[in-house]
Symmetry: C2
Subunit: 131 residues, 2 copies
């Protein structure tokens, strides 16, 4: 994998934010520094970087994928109202693979724990709505 200017800046901008951006949100950030970059380049790099384990691809119920520059083990909450994602710290001493009773013959490599909820802003807006 070559170190290109585009790749470095995409990675830098993703590592810098905690917002779990979509490809096009990241494109807009990167574009401020590299005005001639194309969205396809952002897509291609996000794909390669996540294949290489340098970043993480987050997928859940929305149409768009989101990306996370933080590859340390952690979980996510998804706001069921606005789609925003936050990091969730969980007790580290739990081994989720151990709670499996029957793997159905699958060889398990990894797990993913996702929570669904309402973010603070949406809680407020929901409360206001019911007045």
């Amino acid at each position: 994998m070559r170190i290109t200017n585009q790749r470095e800046i995409i990675l830098e901008e993703l590592k810098k934010t905690k917002s779990h951006p979509t490809a096009d949100e990241l494109f807009e950030l990167v574009r401020k520094r590299l005005p001639r970059i194309s969205l396809a380049t952002v897509y291609r790099n996000l794909e390669q970087l996540s294949d290489a384990g340098i970043i993480n691809k987050i997928e859940y119920g929305s149409r768009q994928k989101r990306f996370d520059g933080d590859v340390s083990p952690h979980s996510h909450v998804f706001c069921i109202r606005c789609g925003k994602i936050a990091d969730i710290k969980t007790a580290q001493d739990i081994n989720l693979k151990k709670i499996i009773q029957d793997t159905k013959g699958y060889k398990i490599f990894g797990e993913r724990l996702q929570f669904m909820g309402l973010c603070p802003q949406c809680q407020e807006e929901e409360a206001n709505k019911n007045n």
Copy 2:
């Protein structure tokens, strides 16, 4: 929600299978019984039925969504090679919400635990490949 012929048969076929079909796979199944049904009807019904909690929408790293007629609490394994999904039984006595250390102000409603692995067939094919 009206009880139409299409809706009944879509639900029946989904409850009948354990294959976690995509919308178009289910469309093919239903089409055998209702040759004039349209794919849009299948999509609309899957959406409504899962909104109503009668079925479950499964989303993970693939482009297509999958659907599950089994709404009892259980987790899934995804084959990272062929995309097949299987049900996973986990120890029932675990409360995943309890392992959260910081919710970042989110009000948590639910959780989802997904495992990634290799299905039996793909394990075999991978073994053969490395000979």
